[in-house]
């Protein structure tokens, strides 16, 4: 690690009654890194993500954000400085696109004019149309447009860390691909540190610098895609097998794509 990690989990566990959702996980996310957490449903990946901004409180272990123990930070203040993109958007249906995007700066008490300027900037950044979308209600947008608003909202208060909870899961493949690429680009340009949850190993490999694999609350493996291929865990190899088989099959079915 070149510098101190932006997010650091040390022996973190979370129990819901008898259920151990996260079991003794230690994991660091470096500054500027894009980490994908891959796992099936019930693997504890969402719980792990929510522990970082205290939407869920850990039962044991320590979580540090930018070098500070999260227990020492007021949870509301913590959430305002960490961007969060919800599954299928989580947009407020009674607020316009602009009001949804500007919500965190508004909570932080920024002046209206500054918020309005920031909202315009973000609408451009996530490649929406100011004139067409700014004053719409979320229900008038497509799924992809809604998720772009969700990303813009997460970025509105200028966070250094962004947490994403299966952000592209419910989108059609084309939209999903375009949005993933766009976000990857934003992540690099803005120098963000990103933790993204996905159940799709292909998406994880294509977008993330490093991939962490969870199963039954335990962290099975973590590393670059290349490092993961050397893992001795059968489940990890099985997960990696899927994109491999897809590539092979695509190469036979679509030979011209290999030539392009």
């Amino acid at each position: 690690m070149p510098s101190r990690p932006m997010i650091s989990y040390a022996h973190v566990s979370k129990r819901f009654g008898p259920l151990v959702a996260v079991d003794d996980v230690s994991l660091d996310v470096a500054e500027g890194e894009f980490l994908a957490i891959v796992g099936g449903s019930g693997s504890g990946k969402t719980t792990l993500l929510r522990l970082a901004n205290r939407l869920i409180e850990a039962s044991s272990g320590t979580i540090m954000v930018e070098g500070q123990d999260v227990q020492d930070i007021d949870p509301v203040a913590l959430r305002r400085r960490i961007g969060y993109v919800f599954q299928s958007g989580g947009l407020f249906p009674h607020l316009s696109v602009a009001d949804n995007i500007g919500i965190t700066p508004k909570l932080l008490g920024e002046p209206d004019a500054a918020i309005a300027a920031r909202v315009d900037e973000l609408i451009d950044l996530v490649r929406l149309d100011r004139a067409a979308h700014r004053d719409r209600l979320p229900e008038a947008l497509s799924g992809g447009q809604r998720q772009r608003v969700g990303v813009a909202r997460a970025l509105a208060a200028g966070p250094r860390i962004v947490l994403m909870d299966e952000p592209f899961g419910a989108l059609d493949p084309l939209t999903r691909d375009a949005l993933g690429e766009d976000f990857r680009d934003l992540h690099r340009r803005l120098g963000l540190t990103t933790m993204m949850i996905t159940h799709d190993m292909t998406e994880a490999i294509l977008l993330a610098d490093r991939v962490a694999v969870m199963r039954g609350g335990k962290l099975l493996a973590q590393g670059t895609p290349a490092e993961l291929s050397g893992s001795g865990e059968a489940y990890v190899l099985e997960l990696l097998g899927t994109p491999r088989r897809q590539v092979e099959r695509l190469n036979t079915l679509l030979p011209q794509s290999g030539a392009a």
Binding site: N53, L55, V76, A77, R79, R80, Y84, F86, Q87, S88, G90, L91, F92, P93, H94, I103, T104, L107, L108, L137, R153, A157
Partner: protein, 519 residues
């Protein structure tokens, strides 16, 4: 005469500003109080299933209490509370009219507001509440910025239901002294003035419909997030409230208040008293349809200034006496006893309106019944009907005790319907009133009471403590004392029981005044 050209419509219309204004005022206050209590409760209990369940159960129980009973319960409750505050803090408040009506109606409005409030708040997608937390809202900000706006349409629907219920139920607040559109209905029912009944029904239904539609517009606007619709609805409500309240504001100086109980004779007498005071240059209004137990308390507390009661009623209900004395002695004793409460018994009007057991003349002759003692032998095979209070009055207990009366069945009836019921044989005997003109009309006979179980019932004028030394008032009333004999009163009552333009209490009161020597 056609129904539409009936002059009673005009008379009804002349009361509209007063009745409607008071109706809107008490409904609005009740709704505001109900909302101020239930909305915070709905918010506080939204995430607490146990208190929420208890609260909803309590509100549901309140809802099962009939509106009239709930209103009636608040009068003695507040009367007791007022006497407590008087002894402890030296301040009393009026347990009459507005306050009990408002409190009972507010309680009545709580269930729909609570239920819809809780449903609305609990129905919000949990992912949105999570999102509110995730973007950095405090629980309070989440409530104000996300949960309440999203629950608002459902809450509004509850408020709408509550408003319609309150407006409808407010018509029942007349007997506890709150003027409302119910005054038309109660007065109309007692004096068989169906024009009044219809007018009252239409007026309150129209009011409820208008409020429902306007609140519906607001609800619709909130649902569709249309500021225009919500704004129009709100402006409509504001205009409606202003239009109904402003005309009644100007008339709020009421001067003397004449009380009346719930039967036709009382309506006529209160109109007569009001006219006499107005003729003497005093400003006066009639407050009619008051319950028999409410009215004495209201006089004692000064909520009304004067009314006509009956010596036997006061003897039994206020002095709790069971012995019977001659007419004059009872009035003298009453006068002295009431004076200790600072209530003035100004004098007798001249006629007596006693309870009497009444049955068809022909049937009585056929069975050889002349007195209540004769009746006792036949009673076990007969049914008896009385007004709403008769069977719980001491006179009934005394009758049963003196004559060993035991009827096969007893029924309660609207006083004006009793006479027709006994004439048609639907019941065998009724507890009627001796001053009622219907006794003659239906060829009925009042049975003698040889054992004097029923005390005399001289009509007497009572004045509130605060009017004890009011000489202008007493001078205006003196000409009526001893002037109304029972024949005249019977005729007046018979007129009031008719269903035509000359049968309104106001018209009968004018006739009565001319008859007893006025001009």
């Amino acid at each position: 005469m056609s129904l539409l050209s009936d002059p009673r419509w005009g008379e009804a219309l002349s009361h509209l500003p007063d009745y409607l204004g008071n109706h809107v005022r008490v409904s609005l206050a009740a709704l505001a109080l109900g909302l101020a209590v239930s909305l915070p409760l709905a918010i506080l209990t939204r995430n607490r299933p146990a208190p929420r369940g208890i609260l909803l159960a309590l509100a549901s129980i309140v809802q099962t209490v009939p509106g009239l009973a709930l209103l009636a319960l608040f009068y003695p409750l507040l009367l007791a509370a007022a006497s407590v505050t008087l002894t402890w803090f030296g301040v009393a408040f009026s347990a009459f009219g507005f306050l009990p009506a408002m409190l009972a109606l507010a309680l009545y409005s709580m269930l729909p507001v609570l239920r819809n409030g809780i449903t609305g708040l609990n129905g919000i997608d949990p992912a949105l509440i999570e999102a509110a937390k995730g973007v950095g809202m405090t629980p309070r900000q989440s409530l104000v910025m996300v949960e309440l706006p999203l629950a608002l349409p459902v809450m509004m629907a509850g408020i709408r239901t509550a408003a319609v219920w309150v407006i409808g139920t407010a018509t029942l607040s007349t007997p506890i002294g709150q003027t409302s559109l119910g005054n038309y209905i109660f007065a109309g029912l007692q004096t068989q003035n169906w024009v009044f009944v219809l007018f009252g029904c239409f007026a309150s239904a129209l009011l409820a419909l208008a409020v429902d539609q306007l609140l519906g517009l607001i609800e619709n606007g909130l649902r569709r997030r249309s500021r225009l619709r919500a704004g129009l609805g709100a402006a409509g409500i504001a205009a409606l409230v202003a239009a109904t309240l402003v005309p009644s504001m100007g008339r709020s100086s009421q001067g003397y208040v004449v009380g009346a109980k719930t039967f036709a004779e009382q309506y006529v007498l209160s109109a007569l008293l009001r006219d006499r005071l107005q003729a003497a240059g005093l400003s006066a209004t009639a407050r009619s349809g008051l319950g028999s137990s409410v009215i004495f308390g209201a006089l004692k507390a000064g909520d009304i200034d004067l009314y006509v009661d009956y010596s036997g009623t006061l003897w039994a209900n206020q002095l709790h006496r069971t012995d019977i004395k001659p007419r004059a002695e009872i009035v003298t004793e009453l006068k002295a006893a009431l004076a200790t409460d600072n209530i003035t018994l100004l004098g007798e009007l001249g006629f007596e309106n006693a309870y009497a057991l009444v049955m068809p003349r022909k049937r009585a002759e056929a069975l050889g019944i002349r007195t209540i003692a004769d009746l006792a032998a036949h009673a076990p095979t007969m049914s008896i009907a009385g007004d709403y209070e008769f069977f719980s009055r001491p006179e009934w207990a005394a009758l049963q005790k003196s004559y060993g009366l035991q009827f096969r069945a007893q029924r309660q009836m609207q006083p004006d319907f009793m006479y027709a019921a006994v004439a048609s044989g639907e019941v065998d005997v009724i507890a009627g009133y001796t001053s009622d003109g219907l006794i003659a009309k239906y060829d009925l006979v009042a049975l003698d009471d040889p054992r004097h179980a029923i005390p005399p019932y001289d009509a007497v004028l009572l004045l509130a403590p605060k009017r004890a030394g009011d000489e202008r008032l007493q001078a205006a009333l003196k000409p009526l004392l001893g002037r109304i004999d029972v024949t005249t009163m019977r005729e007046a009552n018979l007129r009031a029981a008719g269903n035509d333009a000359n049968s309104s209490p106001d018209a009968v009161a004018k006739w009565l005044w001319e008859k007893v020597g006025g001009r």
